[in-house]
């Protein structure tokens, strides 16, 4: 009887568990995503640029992506950040006027634009909108909508600090004067039924790249105008109010939109590009935990990972690829990101530029920072040196050229050893030595502590400095101290926002008309700005590359903004994706309009 009781007790207890487990595991799902329902489109349907290298494209299927960021969207919002939801909205929910081709990822092509024409003086761009575009609600998308969105980026009537479109505010002439009256020759003007003229403050080589930024997206003005007219308050467009309407290949399904849980973008049957998209939908599911994301990729529940998932190491991605083989495609690429330190040249120990001793100290620090050691320590050796511009832009300089111009980047052990010797000598020449170290305060935002300590550790080891890393709290608290100039060294990181070297110049250096983050290290260099002005208007790529190279050298020599390296970036998608060229850096669109799933 005693045994009987035990068995019954055990059976009763386990019954519930077995029942639950049976229910839980009774799904027909397996590790391989289900094949989409297949319908072979007619040739008329597929008269598009979908790159089909594996048979004819087929319709159907859903791709599932992890939702990691905020659920609030507005292309004209500052926090239009780097989650897939936000970047992916570009090209999927909304369109660009001009975009980098999602097929070759290099050339510019019209998206909403049928054509564009730059004036000979490089000051006016005329863009013709494709006729007959309808938004997700079936209303015509007109040139007035294009005008108003550009106006939003340039004039910010919603008062939203839209930093991602900073190049537009820098390049395009103002539309209104300080009193809010339209200027005689405004930066934007509708000059035809389907045509807009965009006037620039100066000719710029990077104009089209700026307009083709994946962040310069267009929404119908019927909702944004209403927001702005309501008083210019700080508010995103709001899907709950039916304002999340675009022209893109996918539209939000409000029946499947739960903030903080799940969101579905379904196929837009009235997409203005005939026959596209192929997918039925893109599903976003809340997935904030990194381990859960990786596990779900492994289990085949997620189809995408990346871009810019800073918590993942490349070694993890490589292991994932090794384990899953052809089930996933891993596309590693360099991240177009300036990561380095800035030295406060307003501090007597480090500036001003031209002070003999301060110049020596800054240069010593420049030489002693070893980018390769930084990459090895922080990024498993998979990062990329950041010379100030994208290494992919070989028209500016080759890798060997950069090493020659800026030997501190050269990882060759002999060269490194010489750098340290030279750095020590500079410190001695500046009056410091092993018994007389220079004490410096390194202000560090707490989330970047490991990076600050990596740099400080190198410097404390190799030259005669005694650097103390002081945690400034979060980014907000730290930037408050930076604004007050209350630091000597600090870490800086910036992403380029569009596919042109000028993106980096705009983002890294305090160049913006509206001040950026008000960095106050006090560095400036007239020759640098002269060269910047020259490269702006230089049509010849080789000559422009020369100017840019010179600018990088000036920054290197002045050693107030010391660039180091960037971490690796990657994109993962499931192995059955077709028609998709992975982005080579984050500054291209993430449109899935051409993607189809191989059965």
């Amino acid at each position: 009887m005693r045994n009987l009781i035990s068995k019954r007790g055990l059976a009763g207890a386990m019954l519930v568990i077995v029942l639950l487990a049976t229910l839980a595991c009774s799904s027909g799902d397996d590790s391989v995503p289900a094949a989409p329902t297949v319908a072979v489109p007619s040739s008329a349907d597929t008269g598009t640029s979908a790159a089909s290298t594996d048979g004819a494209p087929v319709y159907g299927g859903t791709v599932t992506v992890p939702a990691t960021g905020s659920w609030a969207f507005d292309p004209a919002s500052n926090v239009f950040g780097f989650s897939w939801q936000k970047l992916g909205a570009g090209g999927n929910m909304w369109n660009e006027l001009i975009r980098i081709s999602p097929t070759d990822r290099e050339t510019f092509e019209g998206d909403l634009a049928e054509s564009w024409q730059m004036s000979d003086d490089g000051l006016t761009l005329k863009v013709k909108l494709i006729d007959g575009i309808m938004d997700h609600e079936g209303d015509p998308f007109t040139i007035e909508d294009v005008y108003y969105q550009l106006f939003r980026y340039v004039e910010r009537p919603n008062k939203t600090p839209a930093n991602t479109q900073a190049c537009l505010r820098t390049y395009v002439k103002k539309v209104l004067d300080e009193s809010g009256n339209k200027l005689a020759e405004p930066g934007l003007e509708i000059t035809g039924t389907h045509e807009i003229s965009i006037r620039f403050t100066a000719p710029r080589a990077s104009t089209i790249a700026c307009l083709g930024s994946p962040s310069v997206l267009y929404t119908p003005s019927k909702y944004t105008k209403a927001i702005d007219d309501a008083g210019g308050g700080y508010r995103d467009i709001d899907p709950d109010k039916g304002e999340y309407v675009g022209t893109g290949p996918f539209k939000i399904d409000m029946n499947n939109y739960e903030v903080g849980a799940r969101m579905v973008w379904e196929r837009n049957p009235n997409y203005f590009k005939a026959g596209l998209p192929y997918l039925d939908s893109i599903e976003h599911v809340l997935m904030s935990d990194d381990s859960a994301i990786l596990a779900n990729i492994r289990a085949g529940r997620l189809d995408v990972l990346g871009p810019l998932a800073p918590n993942f190491r490349m070694s993890e991605m490589q292991q994932l690829k090794k384990d899953l083989g052809d089930k996933i495609l891993l596309h590693p690429h360099a991240q177009y990101r300036w990561e380095g330190i800035q030295l406060n040249v307003q501090d007597p120990a480090l500036g001003p530029v031209g002070d003999p001793n301060a110049d020596k100290v800054r240069k010593a620090i420049r030489l002693a920072v070893d980018p390769q050691e930084y990459i090895d320590g922080l990024y498993d050796g998979e990062g990329t040196i950041m010379v100030g511009f994208n290494l992919r832009d070989t028209w500016i300089n080759t890798l060997e050229g950069w090493y020659s111009d800026m030997p501190a980047f050269n990882p060759d052990p002999a060269s490194r050893a010489k750098m340290v010797v030279d750095a020590k000598q500079l410190m001695v020449d500046a009056g410091y030595g092993p018994d007389n170290k220079l004490s410096l305060l390194y202000l560090c935002a707490t989330p970047t502590q490991h990076k600050c300590e990596a740099v400080a550790g190198q410097l404390n080891r190799d030259i005669y400095v005694d650097i103390t890393v002081a945690l400034g709290g979060g980014y907000g608290a730290t930037s408050e101290k930076v604004r007050k100039g209350d630091y000597q060294i600090m870490s800086t990181a910036h992403n380029g926002r569009f596919a042109d070297p000028d993106a980096m110049t705009l983002n890294v250096y305090p160049l913006w008309p509206d001040g950026g983050r008000n960095y106050t290290n006090g560095w400036t260099n007239d020759k640098f700005w002269d060269l910047h002005a020259k490269q702006n208007v230089e049509p010849d790529k080789t000559t422009r590359g020369g100017y840019l190279r010179e600018m990088a050298k000036i920054v290197y020599e002045d050693a107030a903004m010391i660039s180091i390296a960037t971490g690796p970036n990657f994109w993962i998608n499931r192995g059955n994706w077709r028609g998709y060229t992975p982005p080579p850096d984050p500054n291209v669109g993430y449109s899935l309009e051409n993607v189809w799933l191989a059965p």
């Binding site: 009887m1 005693r2 009987l4 009781i5 035990s6 007790g9 009763g12 207890a13 386990m14 519930v16 568990i17 639950l20 229910l23 839980a24 799904s27 799902d29 590790s31 599932t64 905020s70 609030a72 500052n78 926090v79 950040g81 780097f82 600090p161 930093n163 508010r235 709001d238 709950d240 739960e258 903030v259 903080g260 849980a261 799940r262 599903e283 599911v285 809340l286 997935m287 904030s288 935990d289 381990s291 859960a292 596990a295 779900n296 492994r298 289990a299 529940r301 810019l308 709290g473 979060g474 980014y475 907000g476 608290a477 930037s479 408050e480 604004r483 983002n507 950026g516 983050r517 008000n518």
Partner: protein, 319 residues
């Protein structure tokens, strides 16, 4: 009894005011400016001008004195207006309304598995005292107690995905919409969440039952010739259950608060995951409401435990 319940309910008010005041002040003395955090963006890469910060502070009402902010917040809550999220710019009540049922389902399922596993296994361990099975079960209980729920959750995820290449369906389905999918999605988080409570309940049940089995009235029952089943189930277990139920009640409270971690690990869109997201983005109004929610929950669970105690033991009277 009614008077006692009313008193307890009235005591909720000062407790909640104290909690609200504490969390309100604590969140505002933390370093870091909310406006700057919002403008910096999720990865801290946003750039902005100082005027933008000032404008946003004004928009959010952060430029007002803290007592004015607190007064406004309490007044709004009294009127049923929970406010708006700083980050999503959406009504908090709308968001939390969707999250609460999810968390309650998870906690309920977890409580069910804890009760269904912990108590019978505890009885089994007591009945088979000092046997190999008892040793194994006790070891299992200690493992549960020593394993943080987030770690148990990660092990479950990794085990399911790497060994079985299976994961619960993504997204979330309510129990009343699709019970099968809902259970598929919640059963593993529930098991991970209840792992520690399971261990505790197992040990508690075993200890209490062993104590009761040594009592005189049990010996009397046996001497009357009652079967072992009747002695154990009718006489011993019922009396041993009293402290176990009390512990279980408190564990329900712990399970509800444990959802904070487990929901984040398993991507369950409930209150816990929402709190983590709100904390990371310094979404003050959301955090405040979540904390109040957990405080209310703790008060209600404590009250229910006390009432259950009286129900189980008729000797207990609340005056």
């Amino acid at each position: 009894m009614k008077e006692y319940i009313l008193k307890r309910l009235l005591l909720f008010i000062p407790t909640l005011i104290g909690t609200a005041l504490a969390i309100f002040i604590l969140l505002r003395v933390l370093p870091g400016d909310v406006a700057e955090i919002i403008l910096s963006g999720p990865a801290g890469q946003g750039s902005f001008a100082h005027e933008d910060v000032l404008r946003l502070r004004e928009d959010l009402g952060l430029d007002k004195p803290i007592y004015v902010q607190f007064g406004q917040w309490v007044w709004d809550m009294v009127r049923g207006d929970l406010g708006e999220s700083y980050v999503t710019r959406r009504s908090i009540s709308a968001q939390i309304k969707n999250q609460i049922p999810v968390t309650l389902q998870l906690a309920a399922l977890s409580a069910l598995t804890v009760a269904a596993v912990g108590i019978p296994i505890g009885i089994l361990a007591a009945v088979r005292r000092d046997s190999l099975l008892d040793v194994i079960l006790r070891g299992w209980a200690i493992l549960g107690l020593a394993t943080p729920s987030f770690f148990a959750g990660l092990l479950v995820i990794l085990g399911l995905s790497t060994i079985f290449r299976w994961m619960p369906p993504v997204g979330f389905s309510h129990m009343w919409v699709d019970p099968v999918v809902s259970i598929q999605q919640l059963v593993f988080p529930a098991l991970a969440l209840g792992f520690a409570s399971n261990g505790l309940l197992l040990r508690m049940m075993r200890t209490q039952l062993l104590e009761v089995l040594g009592d005189d009235y049990v010996r009397t029952a046996r001497s009357k010739g009652l079967s072992n089943t009747i002695v154990i189930w009718r006489h011993a277990v019922r009396n041993a259950l009293l402290p176990v139920v009390t512990t279980f009640g408190f564990q329900v409270g712990a399970l509800l608060s444990g959802t904070v971690v487990i929901e984040a690990v398993f991507s369950v869109p409930g209150v816990g995951g929402g709190l983590v997201a709100a904390l990371l983005s310094r979404d003050l109004p959301m955090i405040q409401i979540y904390i109040i929610y957990f405080a209310v929950l703790a008060l209600v669970v404590n009250l229910l435990v006390d009432l259950t105690y009286a129900w189980l033991d008729p000797r207990i009277r609340y005056e």
